[in-house]
């Protein structure tokens, strides 16, 4: 394969967000809601997306009058274009609500873009969905497991979903988990009994079982203790080194991005504000911090005028 592993061209996605509308209850309200959504669903087939057009009411009045209550359109990803080469670890950094997870979901075929194209190993995520799904796997920030089942039962289920032989997949899973520092006896009890760090390691093992060509890591170390975080980061580097896997990593941990990524894109309000190697990004900032080394957080502040921590407190419009 000579082209890029991932190619995003002018990708946009917007959502309609309900804003302060009073919730109605009762059977008739329920029926109205279901019927209107059925209508939207069918209408979306027949015409342009009925649900994600710009036809929502705007907010506020220029004269300072009370803002209208009603849905508003939020552009979560706005005309984003980039390419990722095979074997590259590509970071997407930004605060909560910046569009990182939305972008990952579109690459993972869980969300349809409103505009633009996304290709994974030259397969379109919209028109060649099943082929793309064979090539990718994803680790999300939430542990997507049946918590009452054991790690092994979850992994066996995953193996069958991806057409793998369960027994050999189980053996492989044990090897990966051992490499991540998870003892074998822990994988036969309910997942809910494991710590978040252990659950995330199982999540990574599950993603790697299928030996994906492209691995989507959506904030994989969020909420992990420092040792677990380092274990996961070391393993990501090892996977890339040994298998040549292309990795997309979203994070708001700048140090992690700096350690792992060949190139980093900084995203804010759905737009890429910068894309370069970590050193290249630091080179964009002329004002050096006093008494310490420059970090990617300084780069983020310089480029967006915002502190990362301030943005983490901002209510996400959509992610």
């Amino acid at each position: 394969m000579t082209g890029p592993a991932i190619s995003c061209h002018k990708v946009s996605k917007q959502f309609i967000v309900k804003n302060g509308a009073k919730k109605r209850v009762g059977a008739m309200a329920l029926l109205r809601s279901v019927v209107s959504r059925l209508g939207l669903m069918v209408g979306g087939l027949l015409a342009a997306d009925a649900d994600s057009s710009g036809s929502a009411t705007s907010q506020g009045g220029a004269d300072g009058s009370q803002p209208q209550k009603g849905p508003k359109v939020v552009k979560t990803v706005d005309d984003v274009s980039f390419q990722v080469q095979a074997g590259e670890i590509f970071g997407i950094l930004g605060p909560n609500g910046s569009g990182k997870s939305t972008l990952i979901r579109m690459m993972a075929t869980l969300l349809l873009p409103d505009a633009g194209t996304i290709k994974v190993l030259d397969r379109d995520t919209v028109t060649e969905t099943k082929e793309v799904r064979r090539l990718i796997n994803r680790v999300s920030v939430e542990a997507s497991f049946f918590m009452k089942l054991s790690a092994m039962e979850n992994l066996r289920y995953a193996a069958r979903l991806y057409g793998l032989e369960p027994k050999s997949a189980s053996r492989r899973a044990v090897e990966i988990l051992a490499r991540l520092g998870l003892e074998e006896d822990k994988i036969y009890g309910p997942l809910e009994d494991l710590s978040r760090g252990m659950q995330q390691k199982v999540s990574i093992a599950r993603a790697l079982l299928t030996e994906p060509a492209v691995l989507l890591l959506d904030e994989p170390t969020t909420g992990l203790d420092p040792k677990s975080k380092k274990d996961v980061q070391d393993f990501v580097l090892e996977v890339r080194e040994q298998r040549g896997t292309t990795i997309i990593l979203t994070s708001h941990d700048m140090a992690e991005a700096e350690r792992l990524c060949h190139r980093v894109a900084i995203i804010d309000s759905g737009q890429f504000v910068a894309l370069d190697t970590p050193e290249g990004l630091k080179g964009m900032v002329t004002e050096e911090p006093v008494g310490r080394e420059m970090t990617l957080e300084d780069v983020f502040f310089s480029l967006t005028g915002k502190k990362l921590k301030d943005n983490e407190n901002t209510k996400a419009a959509a992610s």
């Binding site: 059925l38 669903m41 349809l112 099943k130 999300s140 289920y157 979903l161 032989e165």
Partner: protein, 273 residues
């Protein structure tokens, strides 16, 4: 080294089997709750049957009438609920995105859910029947058991179709979709003559009973089990039920695919929808 099962039917069947295996593993994990719900269903069925015991003379026929209704409805409603709530439960567990990202046909996923629903429904119904037979002296001497079984199989297809259509509702709306599913199930219970003949329904409600596959299921099953009607006599209902299944399953799949497309466009595949 990745060891594949290859492509095509074998791979898809393995994925469907994975769903059955997963769901039975969940039943094992939630076994105490399963026992509780089974106990409640047994008690419910027995209390319904005991209504008829008060009337001596016609007790046996009346008990059978009610028990057949309760058992059949128990099986068909489990089928409907398992299929229609499959999305709700994936969302509740937080696994909906992972499952929908898998490279399998949606038919494979839904087929696995249906296979589990049938197996689970059969096991449950057999256990309830066994428990109920301890309370009542059920005389099936003149019953056409084979005919009753054929009716049950035919009605399963139509209820799977209904379940597939209802399964789209939680895709459209997380909470309200699951609520609507329960309302739909309640409505089917009301109009289908589960515990009474549909002729006792109010006049304005009776015409709706023709739209429920359960109406024909109960009519034919009671004819077979209570009246010993030969299978040839049941063919009109069996044919209608098979026709319902043949129509409702592809329609249900089509509607489900529409719903999935809507969810993919609007971002409703997330845990919170």
């Amino acid at each position: 080294m990745r060891t594949d099962r290859g492509h095509g039917f074998g791979r898809e069947f393995s994925a469907s089997y994975g769903l059955v295996e997963r769901n039975f593993s969940l039943v094992r994990r939630y076994l105490s709750w399963e026992v509780v719900f089974l106990f409640y269903t047994i008690v419910n069925t027995v209390t319904i049957g005991l209504i008829a015991v008060e009337r001596p003379g016609e007790a046996n026929q009346r008990v059978l009438y009610l028990i057949v209704g309760a058992l059949l409805w128990g099986f068909l409603s489990v089928l409907f609920m398992e299929v229609s709530n499959s999305i709700s439960w994936e969302r509740w567990e937080g696994t909906i995105e992972y499952t929908f990202m898998a490279p399998i046909h949606r038919l494979t996923y839904l087929g696995g859910v249906c296979l589990f629903a049938i197996a689970y429904g059969v096991v449950r119904t057999v256990l309830i029947l066994g428990a109920v037979s301890v309370f009542f002296d059920i005389d099936l001497g003149g019953a056409n058991l084979l005919g009753g079984l054929v009716v049950l199989v035919a009605s399963s297809l139509s209820f799977i179709g209904l379940g597939l259509m209802a399964a789209v509702l939680p895709l459209l709306s997380t909470e309200k979709g699951a609520q609507a599913t329960n309302i739909l199930q309640g409505f089917i219970l009301l109009i289908s003559g589960v515990y009474y003949d549909v002729s006792v329904l109010p006049g304005w409600l009776q015409p709706l009973s023709v739209f429920s596959p359960a109406t024909y299921t109960l009519r034919a099953a009671r004819a077979a089990l209570l009246g010993g009607a030969p299978t040839s006599q049941l063919l009109p209902e069996i044919g209608l039920l098979l026709l319902c299944g043949v129509l409702l399953i592809p329609i249900g799949l089509f509607i489900f695919n529409l719903g999935e497309g809507y969810a993919l466009r609007t971002g409703k595949l997330k845990r919170s929808g």
